[in-house]
Every structure is written in C-alpha cells, then in structure tokens.
C-alpha cells in the first residue's frame, strides 16, 4: 500500500477508554476513513502522542485533510461535527474545553 492509500485520519487511542470510544462513534457516524494506533495506559509510554500533539493524553487525532492535530475528546467531537457534520461550519470554531480527558494513570 502506498502512502497515498493511507487513511487521511490517524486516531491515537487507548483500548477501552470511554473518551476514545466517543471519538470512534463520531468517526463512524460520519463514515470517515481512519487508522487506529493504540498506545499504552502509562502516560510515560506515550511519547509518540506527545511529539504530535504536545500532550500525552488520548484520544488524539491527526487529520491530513485539514492539517489539524488535536486532543481532548470534546474538542475532537466538535471539530468532527464542524468539519464533517451536516451543518459543517466554515469558521472551524471550537467550543471551550468542556471536560478533562484521559486522566487515568
């Protein structure tokens, strides 16, 4: 598979993490093509996410369609709604962080 066949969205996730599952549901709702990369529960083992987003929290997504890298599930859900939802906004607006994600460990 060449790089051009790669799904445009890469989704960094933790197995069984409810915040990640929320993002999964949204990606599936909009029928988006994504690849899942699973990381470890230990924050200290998540350097790959830190390099991308500046934080070690998951979920995090990288969307090659828009060049956006983002963490925190509420932000991601808003972003997906605004970018791929029915009433997709053009201003890319994001609401203020509404929750704290991925605090375990």
């Amino acid at each position: 598979m060449s790089a051009t066949d790669d799904p445009p969205i890469t989704f960094y996730r933790l197995q069984a993490c409810p915040f990640c599952e929320r993002v999964t549901r949204k990606l599936r709702e909009y029928d988006l093509d994504y690849r899942s990369r699973f990381v470890e529960p230990m924050h200290s083992d998540r350097n790959v996410v830190k390099r991308l987003s500046g934080k070690r929290t998951v979920p995090a997504i990288v969307d090659e369609n828009t060049g956006v890298t983002m963490s925190e599930s509420a932000n991601i859900v808003d972003y997906l709604d605004n970018t791929y939802g029915d009433g997709a906004r053009t201003d890319g607006g994001q609401r203020a962080e509404a929750e704290r994600d991925g605090g375990a460990n």
């Binding site: 598979m1 060449s2 690849r35 899942s36 699973f38 990381v39 998540r46 790959v48």
Partner: protein, 173 residues
C-alpha cells in the same frame, strides 16, 4: 553436552520455497504503538523476513530475538531494503515489553488466535496448555511479490533457525 530429549514434530504441510506466502492483516507492534498492517504493505516496500516465534516470555523468543538483533539483520546497508518482522500469539502489550526488553529495532505482529500459522501450515498445539496453539518456530524470506525464496520450519521442539543459513539466503538476494 547435556543429554536432553527433543521431541520430533510431525511432518507439516507448510508454505514452501516457490509458493506465494498468504497475505494477512494483524496488529503490528512498534516500540510506541500498534496498528493493523498487512504483510503485503511490507512486501510492497521490499523483501521481508517473516519470523514465527514462540510466545513472548518463553526462552526461545528471547534467544531468537537476541540473535537476530546481534546479527543486525535488516538494519545494515548490505541487507538493502529488507524488513525483518516477527509474529507470535502474544498480545500487543507483551510485544511492546519484548521490544523494550530486548532493545530490538524490529516490529512484531500479534496473532492471539493463531490464524496466520494455520494459513502457513505451521500450527503447534502446545502440550500441557489446553486450548493454546502457537506457530512452530519458522522463518520465511519473501520477495516483493510474497514469493517464498527461503523457508525453514522447525521439525523438533524446541528448535532454532540455522542463522547462518538464513543469513546466506539473505546475502544471495
């Protein structure tokens, strides 16, 4: 030399030299994460040495990866674009630990249900571990079309690849 019993394994109707190796998709574990990857994605990039090994934590897994690491297979310029990749029934978390503990620059496929070994004809039902089967130790050198250029499958238990022979097959490419 200490006299110890090795068990002969029955003949296996396994994938052999000249065959096209079956493609598969499984979680491929790096030192940082895992994601679903197909074998053909790897062969598209160049030849692949596919190493079936006993479950992580068993001493043969440790020995095999120490040896491959110390021989630098796939990491030197002589080996060109060869990719060396492992496969066992261990879960991705165990694979990450093995990669860390061995300090190895190789990725490992995770196949807990042993379906890939079934496709390759190298299933080994483990005596004394009810319901658990894993691959026999086996090594397949594949070209870009997944044609098998070299194959070795354990005929005894335990058994280890003839590393010099594998190295010669790699060098012949």
């Amino acid at each position: 030399m200490v006299d110890f019993e090795v068990v002969s394994l029955p003949d296996a109707d396994h994938v052999a030299e000249g065959d096209t190796a079956p493609d598969f998709t499984r979680p491929l574990v790096t030192d940082e994460y895992w994601e679903d990857v197909s074998l053909s994605e790897l062969t598209d990039e160049g030849p692949v040495l596919l190493v079936f090994h006993p479950m992580d934590g068993a001493f043969p897994a440790t020995y095999v990866w120490n040896e491959i690491r110390d021989r630098n297979w796939g990491t030197t310029t002589e080996d060109g674009d060869l990719t060396v990749v492992g496969l066992s029934i261990s879960d991705p978390y165990s694979h990450k630990r093995l990669i860390e503990e061995r300090g190895m620059d190789y990725r490992l496929f995770s196949d807990p249900q042993n379906g890939v070994a079934e496709e390759y004809g190298v299933v080994h039902d483990l005596d004394g571990m009810a319901g658990v089967s894993e691959p026999r130790p086996a090594v397949f050198l594949l070209d870009e079309d997944r044609t098998v250029e070299y194959a070795w499958v354990a005929a005894e238990w335990p058994d280890f690849p003839d590393y010099d022979e594998v190295e010669a097959a790699i060098a012949e490419r």
